[in-house]
């Protein structure tokens, strides 16, 4: 019950913040307010490691950006790929605003830092080589920098062409994620500047330094470092960026173990932020909640395990009493008397209803990605059962200090 109270509290907090700030969140900036000469110069870094299949699409999406070519510089860094990535990149050599750098493999942060050191534009961003920016996304992100206190802007991430069931589940998850990011940005509590198309003011790196090796989640570490330095990270939920998502459970599991372990490890590195009033909502509420909710998964799994054992015991009791007769078919009869009506059930219904509200509101604010009922149902039915798998593995990894691989 306490776990459900905490989850409900988190959801309601986000909802209250949304209601309070809804006008600001829904306020769409017109991209036509700034054109041509008004727009600042931007460098977009594309770090690549074995991305031969996706990097052309990534670069094509950057070439198709509705942003003046003279104001845009694309730096592609081949981080020692062992496949044909470099060969693919060579075909883009002729574009005057694309620069290709080649280096030995050293990890994503080294690729980003190499390009950062060479960039001299007012704004710098990154686009993972498996993600694709919508043509209007950069202009929409840049509009957010009209507020001088904004030091970085994260886009609205959406799943690229979801085909499998797992991808459709992720599509719904990303819609909720986009909504949550919009709210967390309003609370100045974003703890990640995602690799797909987060854009920074250049001075961010001058103040807080370059990317660091950080448990394969450099984008979380950078956001936390910015938060420590009191920098505001905004969300441009109308700037859509598509990202390739894992097709099956195994790859999804691996990706999420990396993310969750990364978050927990970074949270440990930045533990001084926890319950520290100086860091406002992120220190007092968001980070502690994320950690507590991960640990709560252990209790929830234990409780589900206990229920399963009780159920198996009941089956065994029935089997040992009446033998195979227990499998006799009878038409199920409905009687309201036997419906479980514990307070826990009603709190669960309330929590699930709020998740549905998030999906609806998320669909409204992220313009492209309206989930269908046939995608929401498997999300609701399956996600809560598969998510604990990677949370438990991550807790195990963090507890035993296991090293994570990128892939």
């Amino acid at each position: 019950m306490a776990i459900l109270f905490v989850s409900l509290y988190y959801e309601i907090f986000l909802l209250v913040t949304y209601i309070e700030r809804r006008k600001k969140i829904h306020g769409v900036f017109s991209v036509k307010t700034r054109t041509g000469d008004d727009l600042p110069r931007v460098t977009v870094i594309v770090p690549c490691f074995n991305e031969e299949h996706t990097v052309s699409k990534t670069l094509d999406s950057l070439l198709a950006l509705e942003y003046p070519q003279t104001k845009l510089k694309i730096v592609v860094v081949n981080d020692g790929s062992t496949d044909n990535t470099l060969k693919v990149l060579e075909s883009y050599r002729n574009y005057p605003h694309i620069e290709i750098l080649n280096k030995e493999n050293g990890g994503k942060h080294t690729a980003l830092n190499l390009a950062l050191q060479q960039s001299n534009t007012e704004f710098v961003g990154c686009l993972d080589a498996d993600s694709y920016a919508r043509p209007d996304s950069l202009a929409r992100i840049i509009m957010k920098f009209d507020r001088p206190e904004v030091m970085a802007v994260v886009p609205s991430l959406q799943v690229f062409e979801p085909k499998t069931l797992i991808q459709k589940i992720q599509k719904v998850e990303y819609v909720i994620g986009a909504f949550m990011r919009a709210i967390l940005a309003e609370m100045n509590a974003l703890y990640v500047t995602p690799g797909p198309f987060s854009i920074f003011r250049r001075e961010v790196f001058e103040i807080v330094g370059y990317y660091r090796k950080a448990h394969n989640t450099e984008d979380m570490e950078m956001a936390m470092r910015m938060q420590v330095n009191g920098m505001h990270i905004a969300s441009a939920h109308d700037a859509v960026v598509y990202t390739s998502s894992p097709r099956g459970v195994k790859t999804l599991y691996k990706q999420r173990v990396r993310w969750t372990s990364g978050f927990l490890n970074n949270a440990r590195d930045y533990k001084h932020m926890l319950f520290n009033l100086k860091y406002g909502n992120i220190g007092m509420f968001v980070m502690p909640f994320m950690i507590v909710s991960s640990i709560c998964v252990l209790f929830v799994i234990t409780s589900i395990g206990y229920d399963l054992i009780t159920m198996v015991q009941a089956w065994y009791l029935r089997y040992s009493s009446i033998g195979l007769n227990m499998f006799e078919w009878s038409w199920p009869s409905f009687n309201w008397f036997y419906i479980q009506t514990t307070p826990l059930l009603f709190c669960g219904i309330a929590a699930m209803s709020i998740v549905l509200i998030f999906i609806i509101l998320g669909s409204r604010i992220s313009t492209d990605n309206k989930p269908k009922v046939l995608e929401i149902v498997p999300y609701v039915c399956l996600y809560s059962f598969i998510a604990p798998l990677w949370v438990i593995k991550s807790l195990y990894n963090v507890a035993l200090q296991k090293k994570m691989s990128w892939r």
Partner: protein
């Protein structure tokens, strides 16, 4: 620049608490509705029993089918299932439920006595099994499953009267004393004979062959219909 908006945290707490309190109230209201439903069933059984009783005592010419109309058996069965459910969700010790269990036990004894007193008039009356159980007795749970199975498969020929031996009802204690109910539990009484310990489907069917006959008849009817 980080801010911490206490007001929003307090408002959220109020909303969350309101939802939890509402959940508690709805759950408690539904449980009271359940107890009301149990009471209604008991009232219905009570009226049916009284009606049979009066017919038997005054007219002496009530037909056996009137005296042993299967609706009383079904209602007693349904009430028994629902009381078991209340026990399984941890509400077995609620004052209302305990009172209803006591009342239910008395109704069972009354139906049992009526059945016995009509024995000479109605030789083909339903056979009866008295079942005494206790809490924290795994074999009692098994016996309960077996008797429920037999009752569901023989609704017209078998009546099972189950009694919680720990229930503080003097009539139940007297009935237990008459039939020399003792450890190990469960105890079942068939045809005046008390059997101690778990009794399998086969051993009960051996004592009451009519149950086997009915089950077989039902099975063959199902096969014919297919």
């Amino acid at each position: 620049m980080h801010i911490f908006d206490w007001k929003r945290y307090i408002i959220t707490f109020i909303f969350t608490a309101a939802i939890v309190v509402t959940a508690l109230l709805i759950s408690s209201w539904i449980n009271s509705q359940r107890v009301d439903e149990l009471r209604n069933i008991q009232d219905s059984i009570s009226v049916n029993l009284l009606s049979s009783d009066v017919q038997f005592n005054l007219l002496r010419d009530a037909s056996c089918s009137d005296l042993f109309n299967s609706s009383i058996g079904q209602e007693l069965g349904s009430l028994s299932d629902k009381l078991s459910y209340m026990e399984s969700i941890g509400r077995g010790n609620d004052t209302d439920v305990v009172t209803l269990k006591k009342y239910y036990s008395l109704l069972e004894i009354r139906d049992y006595l009526l059945s016995n007193s009509a024995a000479s008039k109605c030789p083909s009356r339903p056979v009866t099994i008295l079942y005494f159980y206790k809490a924290n007795c795994p074999d009692c749970d098994r016996q309960g499953q077996i008797l429920t199975y037999l009752r569901q498969h023989n609704p017209d020929v078998l009546r099972v009267y189950s009694f919680d031996h720990d229930l503080d009802v003097s009539a139940v204690r007297t009935l237990a004393n008459i039939h020399k109910i003792a450890e190990p539990f469960p105890n079942i009484v068939i045809g005046g004979k008390t059997l101690s310990g778990l009794q399998s489907i086969e051993s009960i069917e051996k004592i009451l062959p009519i149950l086997t006959a009915t089950s077989t008849a039902t099975s063959s009817k199902i096969i014919r219909n297919q």
